[in-house]
């Protein structure tokens, strides 16, 4: 067998270009898979590290629900609870640092205020500098870099009560102890924070439990004792789960793209080995005649496959590691998870190589079986057969798809929920069904795709199109690989466009203004009417105060927003699905009612007219009746917010003031004149102004970053398909040597032969693009189904520009891939070709 193994190896070496092409395809597929696995592992590690940095040794975290925060009385009650060893409070606020002379306005900073003496006992901050006085601050690495801060620098923290000057005592690695945000964090003492913001409550209390006491026991005791203010209890595991959920969709999509790219790779392997078998027809016949058993021939082909799979997968690991570094950057900037170093987990290396080899072997089964069936007599007497029947090819395809699906399930990120898995399987099934169905539409679609080429290149187009239907099975597989790549681009573009539009539409649908004025500290709003008078500059007709906060409903944290119903009514904001709009919005200002976004109503199974009981300020329960179901709620911190009137929010739910104001310009007023006046007035009141379209732009660009990465990965899938096209066309050319020779003999020029092969690729690419666009749209709708269920109301839009660009890109990749096979074809010697058997 050693001799036969070396035969397998020599056969691969003899066809170096094709072997390298195939290895590249496998490497790209495995590379994306490994990048997805490595990024997921890095996310896991980073989440654990972030949780550790944020919560340290604490066993439980008590988070405040209200703007007023948790009072010192609550902190004392926690400390007095049996089983609690240590408890320390923290305040977290968003604020701005005073701009230094000559620098422009900087993004906001997350300020974390701690009790330095106790903080160290609860939080694990080994090796980090300590705050020794109220005049000191620790800044995160990002903040120090962006604002040019170093130990000894002085910064001025803008507060609602006073501006406080602090000196940088140290720089914290990464994001510092801040859970989310954009890395701009500063840590000061509680005293310093209260000097800046006034006597505000604690945002949270972290506690450790005593020896021999379980956090569960302490939780029970705390629930019995803490009745003063609403709160929410978290364990470190809860925090980790919440961070991980923010990256779940990212992980699911990368896994799906990896599967699609692997399919392209599998197709390449299949074609390469098929070509080997066709080329070695006589050799295999001779081996069989000399006594080689079928099993030995199978082993010969499978040895080639394993060699290709192992080498390609090894290259894929290196490629994947580089890709993972890129993806980590995206996760960092988009999901808010501070992924720093890319992990190379051994399990992911083993899994990626195993899947790479498994897929390769699956792809090799059919060629191996075919090689084994070569009859010695036929091989020595006749020309090679033209490949197996379509049915055999499609059977093989189903097997490879199934293997990749099983591999996908093995590699599926465990924390990504069932709906995402169902969605991925549906998309995958759709791609399989369409690839299997594609041979049956090759004829008509080929004619359609040939039209653009037939305008200028009539004979080339006619002959090229015919060549594609010669082996429908092979053409279908080539088209299939290209189709799935294009489909992914189109599907992702569809989802991205819809998500962007939905997000932008959401903002305009619910915000009653053209300009958003964000407050550093809640601005007290007296009842439902009092808004700082200074904001009513000429050209501004309405200023609506809005507060976002959290409410506890049956132990679940829900986002809520307080607003003025009359303003919403006058501005025409909020679309009602159920309930009388006028009555519901008027009722909001009278108190006792609430509006529910449709997604929340569906999730909680609540209906119009039902009552919802909340835990109010001071532990007093409050009951609100559902007066309307709205299509979309106001944006909350983690989804859509319930809409509550100011009277209930301020009187019963502890809301002390507005987080932001929405200002509406007068009709016909473009804002060009009024906007500068309003912005100047807002800054006087320590409010940060931002036009609504900038808010939309920020949302859109954040989404753009996520989908940009997905698009890049899908483009890799198209490139892998392009490598497959090189293989297919080379095979088509080699099978037609004599035919091309005759064409040359009867007067076809070299240039015409070259053009014929390139047009063949163009038609192939365009057919793949047409099917890919249709399938991509369908896959996009499938994906959107889940996004819609997740809370974003999505109106389906067709990404026309992407459809055109994807079609042009796929056709261009295909035609580019045809250059080498076309060169081979145009150089065929007529004399040898016409004598070719």
């Amino acid at each position: 067998m050693r001799g036969l193994s070396s035969f397998a190896w020599r056969s691969l070496r003899a066809r170096r270009a094709r072997t390298i092409l195939t290895l590249t395809g496998i490497a790209l597929g495995v590379g994306i898979l490994f990048a997805a696995l490595a990024t997921n592992a890095s996310i896991d590690r980073s989440v654990d590290r972030t949780v550790l940095e944020a919560i340290g040794r604490a066993d439980l975290r008590i988070a405040a629900f209200q703007e007023t925060g948790l009072s010192d009385a609550t902190l004392t009650a926690v400390r007095d609870t049996p089983g609690v060893a240590q408890a320390t409070g923290q305040i977290e606020r968003r604020t701005y640092l005073q701009a230094t002379l000559g620098s422009g306005p900087r993004p906001p900073v997350t300020l974390l205020a701690v009790d330095p003496s106790l903080d160290r006992t609860v939080h694990d901050r080994q090796g980090l500098p300590d705050l020794s006085s109220d005049g000191e601050v620790l800044v995160s690495e990002d903040l120090a870099r962006e604002d040019g801060l170093a130990v000894g620098s002085t910064i001025v923290v803008q507060g609602a009560a006073a501006d406080v000057t602090v000196t940088v005592r140290g720089v914290l690695p990464g994001n510092g102890p801040i859970f989310d945000g954009d890395g701009r964090a500063a840590v000061v003492t509680l005293q310093a924070a209260r000097a800046a913001f006034g006597p505000i409550g604690l945002s949270r209390i972290d506690l450790t439990v005593g020896p021999g006491v379980t956090p569960a026991a302490v939780t029970q005791e705390l629930e019995r004792r803490l009745g003063l203010e609403p709160y929410l209890l978290f364990t470190p595991a809860d925090l980790a789960a919440s961070l991980r959920s923010s990256t779940a969709d990212f992980q699911a999509t990368t896994a799906l793209i990896a599967a699609v790219t692997l399919f392209g790779g599998a197709f390449l392997i299949f074609n390469t080995l098929s070509m080997s078998v066709t080329e070695l027809f006589r050799e295999v016949g001779l081996l069989r005649a000399a006594g080689t058993t079928r099993r030995q021939v199978h082993r010969l082909v499978l040895t080639q496959a394993v060699t290709l799979g192992a080498l390609g997968s090894a290259g894929g690991i290196v490629l994947g590691w580089l890709l993972a570094a890129l993806m980590a950057g995206y996760v960092r900037s988009v999901a808010g998870v501070p992924v720093e170093a890319v992990e190379v987990p051994l399990a992911a290396v083993v899994l990626a190589i195993a899947i790479g080899v498994l897929v390769t072997v699956a792809a090799a089964l059919e060629p191996a079986w075919r090689a084994g069936r070569i009859s010695p007599i036929d091989a020595l007497r006749s020309r090679p057969e033209q490949g197996p029947a379509i049915r055999a090819r499609l059977r093989w395809l189903a097997v490879v798809f199934a293997v990749i699906a099983v591999a996908g399930l093995l590699a599926w990120p465990s924390r990504v929920g069932d709906p995402a898995l169902v969605r991925a399987l549906l998309v995958y099934g759709l791609l399989l069904a369409c690839t299997i169905a594609s041979p049956f539409v090759l004829g008509p679609l080929g004619r359609l795709a040939g039209l653009p080429f037939s305008v200028l290149l009539v004979p080339e187009e006619r002959l090229a199109r015919g060549a594609l239907t010669r082996d429908r099975g092979r053409t279908a597989l080539t088209v299939g690989a290209l189709m799935v790549g294009v489909a992914m681009i189109v599907a992702l573009a569809g989802v991205a466009q819809n998500a962007r539009q939905a997000a932008a539409a959401w903002v305009t649908d619910v915000i009653p203004g053209d300009e958003i004025l964000t407050a550093i500290n809640p601005v007290p709003v007296d009842g439902a009417t009092a808004v700082p008078e200074d904001l009513f500059v000429p050209g501004v007709v309405r200023v609506t105060p809005i507060a976002t906060f959290a409410v506890a409903y049956q132990g679940v944290r829900l986002d809520a927003a307080a607003t003025i119903g009359a303003d919403m009514l006058a501005d025409g904001r909020l679309r009602f699905v159920e309930g009388d709009r006028t009555a519901a919005l008027t009722g909001l200002d009278a108190g006792g009612t609430i509006l529910l976004p449709r997604s929340v109503a569906e999730r909680l199974g609540l209906h119009l007219g039902s009552a919802m009981a909340f835990q109010g300020a001071g532990g007093k329960p409050i009951e609100l009746r559902i007066a309307g179901i709205i299509e979309r709620g106001l944006p909350g911190s983690s989804g859509e917010a319930l809409v509550i009137g100011w009277p209930d929010a301020s009187a019963s739910l502890g809301v002390v003031g507005a987080d932001f104001f929405a200002a509406r310009f007068a009709p016909g007023e473009t804002g060009a004149a009024a906007r500068p006046r309003l912005e100047a007035a807002a800054r006087q009141l320590a409010l940060e102004p931002a036009p609504l379209d900038r808010v939309q732009g920020a949302v859109s660009s954040a989404l753009g970053q996520v989908f940009g990465l997905f698009d890049a990965l899908a483009v890799v899938a198209v490139i892998v398909a392009g490598l497959g096209i090189v293989n297919t066309l080379t095979m088509n050319v080699l099978e037609r040597v004599r035919e091309i020779g005759v064409l040359r003999a009867i007067g076809m020029t070299r240039r015409q032969v070259w053009r014929m092969v390139v047009v063949e690729a163009g038609v192939l690419g365009l057919v793949g693009a047409i099917i890919g666009c249709v399938v991509g749209l369908a896959a996009g709708f499938l994906m959107l189904g889940l996004v819609a269920a997740g809370g974003l109301g999505v109106a389906v839009q067709v990404p026309w520009l992407t459809l055109v660009l994807a079609a042009v890109f796929a056709t261009a990749v295909a035609m580019l891939a045809a250059f080498q096979p076309a060169r081979i074809a145009s150089r065929i010697s007529i004399v040898r070709a016409v004598q070719y058997e």
Partner: protein, 250 residues
């Protein structure tokens, strides 16, 4: 009148595993318009190489081929291709039809390649005529795999004749056929020569096929050993040729 085809002192040398092999060693030949010439010789004698040089499919190592006044070796690859397309026709031993095209499309292929639509006007008439000449009008929409070997070769002849070439080259056109089918093919070639004045150069190792020609050039070891004039005869008996070859000891 000058000959339609003239070969002057043609040599062709191949390299085979580092060794030089002379396939042709100074061949000169001329063919008059309307003449049917057979090049005959045993396997490996250089007859197919000679036909490839005469037809412009390959270039000689030395010497020149003049077709209708044009010296092929002085033409670029593109010009030689156009000359082949417009002024010559080829019939090969392996029928070499395009499997995806039906009979009409295969026959019209030279027009298609030239960028013309063989389904329109005068060209469609020429395609019909060529198919009629080889008696395949009833099967004009059949694909090659639906035709017998002889029918496929007749399609190849029709394709070679459709452009009304100055010269038709046929390389062992009956080599792959049984006796009866082979005779049908040779009859078709002869008819085109007699009825349409088609000049034909036929390469064969078979004396029965060569007996259709007006003149037979016997090739051996890369040289023309003997030219045997047979004259135009309705009767294609091979006896005179075989007797002459026997006289010469060939």
């Amino acid at each position: 009148m000058p000959p339609i085809l003239e070969a002057r002192d043609l040599t062709k040398r191949y390299r085979l595993g580092g060794e030089a092999v002379d396939a042709l060693r100074g061949v000169s030949l001329s063919v008059e318009a309307g003449e049917f010439v057979a090049i005959m010789g045993p396997s490996g004698s250089g007859k197919s190489t000679l036909l490839q040089l005469l037809g412009g499919l390959d270039r000689p190592t030395s010497g020149e081929v003049v077709l209708e006044g044009a010296t092929i070796s002085q033409l670029s690859d593109e010009q030689a291709t156009r000359l082949r397309r417009d002024r010559t026709g080829f019939v090969f031993q392996f029928f070499n039809l395009i499997p995806l095209l039906d009979v009409t499309e295969n026959v019209g292929l030279p027009f298609t390649i030239a960028g013309h639509d063989p389904g329109n006007g005068d060209l469609a008439g020429r395609v019909r005529d060529a198919i009629g000449l080889v008696d395949l009008a009833a099967k004009q929409h059949h694909r090659p795999d639906q035709l017998s070997a002889g029918e496929q070769q007749r399609v190849a002849i029709a394709r070679a004749l459709v452009t009304r070439p100055a010269l038709l080259f046929a390389d062992e056109p009956t080599g792959n056929l049984d006796y009866t089918t082979g005779s049908e093919i040779l009859d078709a070639l002869w008819r085109s020569c007699v009825q349409r004045g088609q000049t034909i150069v036929l390469v064969t190792h078979d004396s029965k096929a060569a007996a259709y020609a007006d003149r037979v050039c016997f090739v051996q070891d890369g040289r023309i050993l003997e030219e045997i004039p047979l004259g135009r005869r309705e009767d294609h008996s091979a006896t005179p040729l075989i007797s002459r070859l026997a006289q010469l000891g060939l």
